[in-house]
């Protein structure tokens, strides 16, 4: 079976490095799946889950990625994001806390929609929801 290497890098180091048969992610203009031996490509991602189909085990790994850029070259798919967390590493309580906090400040700031802080709060809500969603797909 064809395979490729998937590497996810964040400022805290290499988050994920495994062989895989498929990677699914969400680019800014829609979902994308990368298969092995893909032609070289660079594309930015949105705040969303990245799903990786592993080669050695019959399972999918979920990784929460906050934006970043995906690059495929020499059959290596690397994702460089300013933060990324594997499903098993996510602190679910903190994610809920962040969600709550973001919702609160959005409520407080609603009405002034163009507000930069409102935008910021909605981004952090988005991130928290993404992390909660990803952590539900933890492998046991």
């Amino acid at each position: 079976m064809a395979e490729m290497r998937v590497q996810i890098v964040a400022p805290s180091g290499v988050i994920y490095d495994h062989r895989a048969s498929m990677v699914s992610a969400r680019a800014i203009d829609g979902d994308i799946s990368i298969l092995p031996n893909h032609t070289p490509i660079i594309l930015p991602l949105t705040i969303h889950a990245v799903r990786i189909k592993r080669i050695s085990i019959d399972a999918e790994d979920w990784v929460a990625v906050n934006g970043g850029v995906l690059e495929v070259r020499n059959n290596v798919c690397s994702i460089v994001a300013d933060s990324a967390e594997r499903a098993r590493d996510i602190d679910i309580e903190r994610a809920f806390e962040e969600k709550h906090r973001a919702e609160e400040s959005m409520k407080r700031l609603s009405g002034i929609k163009a507000n930069l802080e409102y935008k910021r709060a909605s981004i952090s809500l988005h991130k928290a929801l993404n992390r909660i969603n990803v952590s539900k797909n933890k492998r046991v």
Partner: protein, 307 residues
């Protein structure tokens, strides 16, 4: 006898207590330094990756910039250079000074502040030409006390700063640069060389001029890349991320130097305390011996008198 036995003993005790504290602080800093070095290692991978992508994507723009430099004419206007890459006439310079929040780190803070001030006095005539941004309370307080205005201030970074803590200031700086609050930005910090040495560094972060076209040629990318949606739009996302990673890298570096400096300073303090205790012990023993001798002489003298 200049000092009584008790006085000397008290001094020995208090010095010993101080040395226990400095010793503990030294060990704490050593642990933090170890952790920080680990963090740096992880970050190296990330920054190398981001840089590689930026160099790759900006390759064509860089090549054109280089050509226009050589000819000495203005760059062709039909190409939309990214505003973070292009140099504009400098009216105002921004200086980001990275210092620590707390003291007891030897010459760490004073060296970064002093060297920066020297550099600014050398390069600028009037205070209108520069503006400060301070990371760490020591630098912020220093400039505030001297009535210099600070455009941005970031305090209370944790010992192992997370990327999220730094993103705010990085965004702000990129934003201010785009709004032409300043036309170039320097990062001033202490670079960690090893545990006992650090070196002052002033690096230009914006505009991003340290990208080199030869680097891209060395990497030798395939030509048939797909860019989704387009090179320019990816650069729009990637360049701020690159600037953020430069700043974060500098802060990590400075933090490492800070922990190392504090460790060395505390080691020095512990050594000095030990020296003082040794000296005082000798003094104490001498004084005790003198007291005993005196007593014996008195006893002998007394018994002589009884004969």
């Amino acid at each position: 006898m200049a000092e009584s036995l008790q006085d000397i003993q008290k001094r020995i005790q208090s010095t010993r207590k101080t040395s226990n504290i400095t010793k503990a602080m030294q060990m704490v800093s050593a642990a933090k330094l170890g952790k920080q070095e680990q963090l740096n290692k992880g970050f190296q991978v990330y920054s190398a990756k981001v840089r590689e992508m930026v160099v790759h994507l900006a390759q064509t723009q860089l090549a054109l910039l280089e050509d226009s430099d050589m000819i000495g004419t203005n760059s062709p206007s039909n190409i939309d250079f990214h505003d973070m890459l292009i140099e504009r006439p400098v009216k105002k310079t921004g200086y980001i000074i990275i210092s620590s929040d707390t003291g007891l780190a030897g010459a760490y803070n004073s060296s970064v502040i002093k060297t920066t001030i020297d550099m600014i006095q050398r390069d600028h005539q009037s205070p209108d030409e520069y503006i400060f941004m301070a990371i760490g309370r020591t630098a912020a307080d220093f400039f505030k006390n001297r009535g210099m205005n600070i455009a941005y201030e970031l305090d209370n970074l944790s010992d192992q700063p997370a990327f999220d803590e730094v993103r705010g200031i990085a965004r702000q700086i990129v934003e201010m640069y785009k709004n032409e609050v300043f036309d170039e930005v320097y990062l001033c910090y202490n670079h960690h060389i090893n545990t006992i040495t650090f070196q002052y560094r002033a690096e230009k972060v914006l505009p991003l001029t340290d990208l080199d076209i030869s680097e891209a040629e060395k990497l030798d990318f395939d030509t048939d890349y797909i860019y989704e949606p387009s090179k320019e739009e990816i650069l729009d996302i990637l360049l701020p991320q690159y600037a953020e990673s430069l700043l974060y890298g500098a802060i990590l570096d400075a933090k490492t130097a800070e922990h190392a400096a504090r460790m060395t300073a505390m080691q020095g303090a512990t050594d000095n305390a030990k020296q003082i205790i040794d000296d005082l012990s000798i003094k104490y023993n001498r004084a005790r011996q003198a007291a005993i001798t005196e007593e014996i002489t008195e006893i002998i003298g007394g018994s002589e008198g009884l004969k």
